[in-house]
């Protein structure tokens, strides 16, 4: 079943057009990776799905429903949660409060709650009373992921969760992915690290300059094809 879909999605910042008709689809239970160079439009795509940027209603479909025009708080309530680029923890809130506020707009029965998040990332329990911003980068990323999980989302959007982190830390964070999926979330991952994206995803979309230039299952995509899609053919 197609859980989430964009159809000819366009987005602009004032006069500047950032997306030119993007089509992606996420099947229930699967992980989709979006790769592409800086400025390709990956974050813009995530922000459009999450409702931070508003679109025409039928440009984003969630469970068959047109949701492109809904504001972010209503998208969250429907079950799409985002781990934003740069983590964006609330500096006035402790680690635990950052987690709790993740459930503010969507309180549904589900696997995820404080205890389950602390089970997933035990270090956060030790740091629970610290300000979120007093943590290391990797721990902050864990808070940002935990915060998104607290709403028990159907779809989890992760925007560059490995950015700026050491390889061991990235490994720890990606180790959480199978448990997140087991608990019922389907995942859209934005990644600059192509190897990482190929390893964990069922389907990859490569973006360049606001368009999808290549897509397919990781096994079906050759290194050369990805290189061309990433940097432009013959670059």
């Amino acid at each position: 079943m197609t859980l989430l879909e964009t159809r000819a999605l366009t987005a602009r910042y004032g006069d500047f057009q950032a997306l030119f008709g993007v089509d992606i689809a996420l099947q229930a239970g699967q992980t989709v990776a979006i790769i592409g160079a800086n400025g390709a439009g990956k974050t813009t795509l995530m922000r459009s799905i999450a409702g931070v940027l508003r679109n025409a209603p039928e440009q984003v479909l969630f469970e068959g429903r047109s949701v492109g025009a809904l504001p972010a708080d209503e998208i969250t309530a429907l079950g799409i949660a985002m781990v934003p680029e740069g983590r964006r923890l609330f500096p006035s809130l402790s680690v635990e409060e950052n987690l709790l506020i993740g459930a503010y707009g969507r309180k549904v029965q589900g696997h995820w709650g404080l205890e389950a998040v602390y089970g997933l990332f035990p270090i956060l329990r030790e740091r629970r009373l610290n300000p979120g911003t007093a943590l290391s980068g990797g721990q902050q990323q864990m808070v940002a992921i935990g915060r998104a999980l607290m709403s028990n989302p159907r779809v989890l959007l992760c925007d560059e969760i490995s950015l700026g982190l050491a390889p061991v830390v990235i490994r720890d964070i990606y180790a959480a992915l199978p448990r997140i999926k087991e608990a019922g979330a389907s995942v859209v991952l934005v990644e600059q690290d192509i190897g990482q994206a190929m390893k964990v995803s069922d389907h990859v979309y490569c973006m360049m300059e606001g368009r999808v230039t290549l897509s397919g299952s990781p096994a079906s995509l050759s290194r050369a094809a990805i290189h061309d899609a990433y940097f432009g053919a013959h670059a």
Binding site: T76, M82, F90, E97, G102, Y104
Partner: protein
């Protein structure tokens, strides 16, 4: 002159200024909105309480309880219909709009209640006092100060211990990310202004019982409130109380030396604190 007595009176007066200021501080802390009509809204609250008292004949404290939900609704609506539309990166539009609102409120009150000065009668409370040996304190100033502390304790409880308070702080930090949590920033701002108007009603109760008021005195109350907020450090409610107390003590000390110096002494204390600590006594760690 009895110094202890003068200082005690000043401290208690600071409670009144803290009440004037708490709502202003709350709204500024959450949405960086400076409400220039704050003083006029306090005066309006005093008229509303006066109206309830004169229509029903009940005690002013009960009348304030009746006024609170009305004032909450007014604040909520004001934020929804007017102020949310002008909030943004530019700080000028909200200043202009609340300045206009200040004039509108004053003139509506003039139309409705005339320029005559009024007072909310509190009966025997007005003159009651307690003798503590070294000082004799009026019951009304004591009640005012106790109310200021109660208001600050309650607001801090909401702010730091409830889900709504978390949403207030998160929205103040970063409204876009807050919306990803399912928070509607516009609704949060409306709640904040509604709650500020409940505090305004409490301030109005004491304003109305302690002295005469007329439709034009709002801006002067606004200045004391401003000074208290800024001395205390923007966004810190206990700081606001400290600020109110500093202004109150400076005023009573000034008045004790020469009655003409009362107001000036308060403003001088404000400037001195600002010179020494430009960000106030208890500034927030980040902004």
């Amino acid at each position: 002159m009895n110094w202890i007595d003068t200082i005690a009176q000043g401290v208690l007066l600071g409670g009144l200024y803290a009440l004037f200021a708490a709502g202003l501080s709350l709204v500024f802390g959450i949405m960086r909105l400076v409400n220039l009509a704050h003083g006029d809204l306090i005066v309006m609250g005093a008229y509303l309480i006066l109206l309830v008292v004169s229509v029903t004949g009940i005690n002013p404290f009960l009348a304030a309880l009746i006024a609170m939900p009305l004032m909450f609704a007014l604040g909520w609506g004001l934020q929804r219909v007017v102020l949310n539309r002008v909030l943004g990166p530019d700080i000028l539009p909200p200043l202009l709009v609340t300045f206009g609102l200040s004039i509108v409120v004053q003139n509506v009150l003039l139309q409705g209640f005339s320029a005559d000065s009024q007072r909310v009668g509190a009966g025997a409370l007005e003159t009651a006092s307690v003798d503590l040996g070294v000082v004799t304190l009026g019951v009304m100033p004591l009640l005012t100060f106790a109310s200021a502390i109660a208001v600050i304790v309650c607001l801090n409880w909401v702010f730091y211990r409830t889900s709504l308070g978390r949403a207030f702080r998160a929205t103040s930090d970063d409204p876009v990310t807050a919306s990803l949590m399912g928070i509607k920033p516009q609704g949060i701002f409306a709640m904040a202004t509604g709650i500020a108007m409940i505090v305004v009603t409490i301030a109005a109760l004491y304003l109305g019982m302690r002295a005469n008021f007329d439709p034009t005195i709002g801006p002067a109350r606004l200045i004391y409130a401003f000074e208290a907020v800024i001395i205390g450090g923007l966004g810190s409610l206990w700081g606001t109380l400290a600020g109110g107390v500093i202004i109150g003590v400076a005023q009573t000390l000034g008045a004790a030396i020469n009655p003409e110096w009362q107001i000036l002494a308060g403003h001088i204390a404000f400037l001195v604190v600002l010179l020494i600590r430009p960000r106030g006594l208890f500034p927030r760690a980040f902004d």
